[in-house]
Symmetry: C2
Subunit: 357 residues, 2 copies
């Protein structure tokens, strides 16, 4: 350690990039990506995009895009914050709203970035265990919290809660800011967007990556009272005033305005999900009730880790988490019907393979 | 203050968005934007872009784009970090590299975001005044610093320093990380990119917003030793693993590969700059030697604040900073020759107008 400058470096584990297979003929149902392309209106918006205007900075107020999002949720543009993916939005919200002395609260099994952001921003936190049925118990959150963050539906469990649950959580936490992370809500969950006008301490976050097939475009948003949104804008402007590119705004506006395509593709994902769930159950899997674009499943007779590894060898990529309580579960993203047929056929093959051993 | 949740909110001034005029016939030379569109190869990359792949997350390693940037600077892909605009990159670098007890150092007149980031991330800082000639004195930085950040060329002064100056700075600060912010370097400045292999505590940051006409696309980058880049990647991945969209990568790769267009448009800006500088000097302005796409100017006989306001009324938008030491200067971005002719004509009109009073 002769280099003294190293002492000023943030103490952080070096990053090892995740494996993103370049293989062409794989079934990639491991990243909760949408199997369908974005709306044809997005392709049109991009084809028609006049690159000449890229020489200018983006509209700092994102007027058109904010209005389109506000229209969709029947709110006003001042209730909308936009960011570079919903991770960007939630990370900013942690910095903006979780500055109390008391720990913030979230479930023990949840989105893996929450504890990472807490460590990054030195926010104390505590976790409450999900019930045996993997559901969040609203009563746990009655204690005084420095803030609350909950994905609804939760990930990777896929389970969503309704209005009654969310209102309980909000009533128990009138003195803290409550973030409901709705990355997956469009696949059948209950959206708290309608509660924004009732609770001024509620922030609802959303993503264009899943239900709008725009993971590659990086668009996330938050809905909240004008006061909360104003604070988020101020914190954003202490970092980087222009986080959403002009072309993302054009694509995002086109995507949210095409409700017909959105409804159609979301329904297709839900239909495939229910079929795959039923078929897995026939094969003896236990599959949690999903309101997302993925299934969370286990099997009494097989090691899910082995099953995951075996499928990988067969070019079917699903997701396995080697974490307490869920280390015999797998997460399966809903792909096209064709992809899911391959997945199901390979699953049957695996069961035969194990039985023959 | 009946709402207890307000106590957890970050103490920050509410953000008032800057005025971005929607008028069509203005001469907008106030934001250091490039007057020329991006390379036709960018338009082609975007027209040819297959939106179907937007359903996938971007390549986390940005392999192709990093390689293109590395090629340009004759470095390796592992020496390149990419972000959502250079503000995103520099803000992350502050968090990654300025964690010592000692204050970091930068000039008193410089990029206005440096003290904002320091306050945001609780980094102690000190500033050294520029000399009477608005140049940075390398000897000031001999003291022990927790880090150093300097724009080269500096903004809003437009003055650049050469290799000798940068090497002095690096030799004086072998125990700290030195960030050289090269947002404007392509317009005739000295780039420290060639020093990355010699000094492992050097981070050079750059932007596609100015010289590559991609302000609307949000692309920034950093060049540094593999160790420094590895830390930046780790910090980025504690926030948001996918900050650069797939379409930004395609546009950025196309832009950096079109060297001929880049050289041509940069030369045009420099040529216009030198002509405008000479004409302003003929009108009695004192104009600093610029290695950027803007001029920093004052006049012994006129109030620059009044001149700025008057030009605004004439639909010519330049920039004025009401700050100590530079409150009788204006910053003029180099536009097209036509735009600068209007600016110069209006400037002559202003002088006549004042003389007649």
């Amino acid at each position: 350690m002769d280099k003294l400058w190293r002492k000023n470096i943030r103490d952080i584990k070096p990053y090892v990039p995740g494996e993103q297979s370049k293989e062409k003929d794989i079934v990639k149902i491991n990243a909760n990506e949408n199997p369908y392309p974005p709306s044809p209106m997005v392709q049109k918006a991009i084809n028609d995009f006049n690159c000449g205007k890229l020489r200018f900075y983006p509209d700092a107020n994102a007027t058109e895009f904010k209005s389109a999002v506000a229209d969709y949720y029947e709110l006003e543009a001042e209730n909308v914050f936009l960011g570079n993916g919903s991770d960007d939005v939630i990370a900013l919200a942690f910095q903006a709203f979780f500055n109390g002395d008391k720990p913030i609260a979230f479930p023990d099994i949840t989105y893996s970035f929450y504890p990472v952001w807490c460590r990054m921003f030195e926010i104390p936190f505590k976790t409450y265990p999900l019930g045996e049925d993997f559901r969040i118990n609203a009563e746990d959150y009655k204690e005084e919290n420095g803030g609350v963050v909950i994905p609804n539906p939760n990930a990777p469990t896929s389970i969503g809660e309704g209005r009654e649950f969310i209102e309980k959580l909000l009533e128990y936490n009138r003195d803290a800011i409550v973030i409901i992370d709705e990355a997956y809500v469009d696949f059948g969950g209950y959206s708290s967007a309608e509660l924004v006008e009732k609770y001024d301490n509620l922030l609802v976050t959303g993503s264009f990556s899943k239900s709008r097939s725009l993971a590659g475009m990086r668009i996330g948003f938050a809905l909240g009272s004008k006061e909360l949104i104003g604070v988020l804008e101020a914190v954003k402007n202490s970092y980087n005033s222009y986080t959403v590119s002009s072309i993302s705004m054009a694509a995002g506006t086109a995507a949210i305005n095409d409700r017909e395509y959105f409804n159609k593709t979301v329904s297709m994902v839900i239909e495939t999900r229910e079929r795959v769930k039923a078929e897995l159950e026939e094969l003896g899997f236990k599959v949690l009730e999903s309101q997302t674009n993925f299934l969370f499943a286990t099997h009494g007779s097989y090691s899910m880790k082995d099953y995951f590894e075996w499928l990988k060898g067969q070019k079917v990529f699903i997701r396995y988490f080697n974490l307490p309580r869920i280390d015999n579960y797998v997460r399966i993203t809903i792909g096209t019907n064709e992809e899911m047929n391959i997945f199901l056929a390979k699953t049957r093959e695996y069961i035969d393979f194990i039985k023959q051993k």
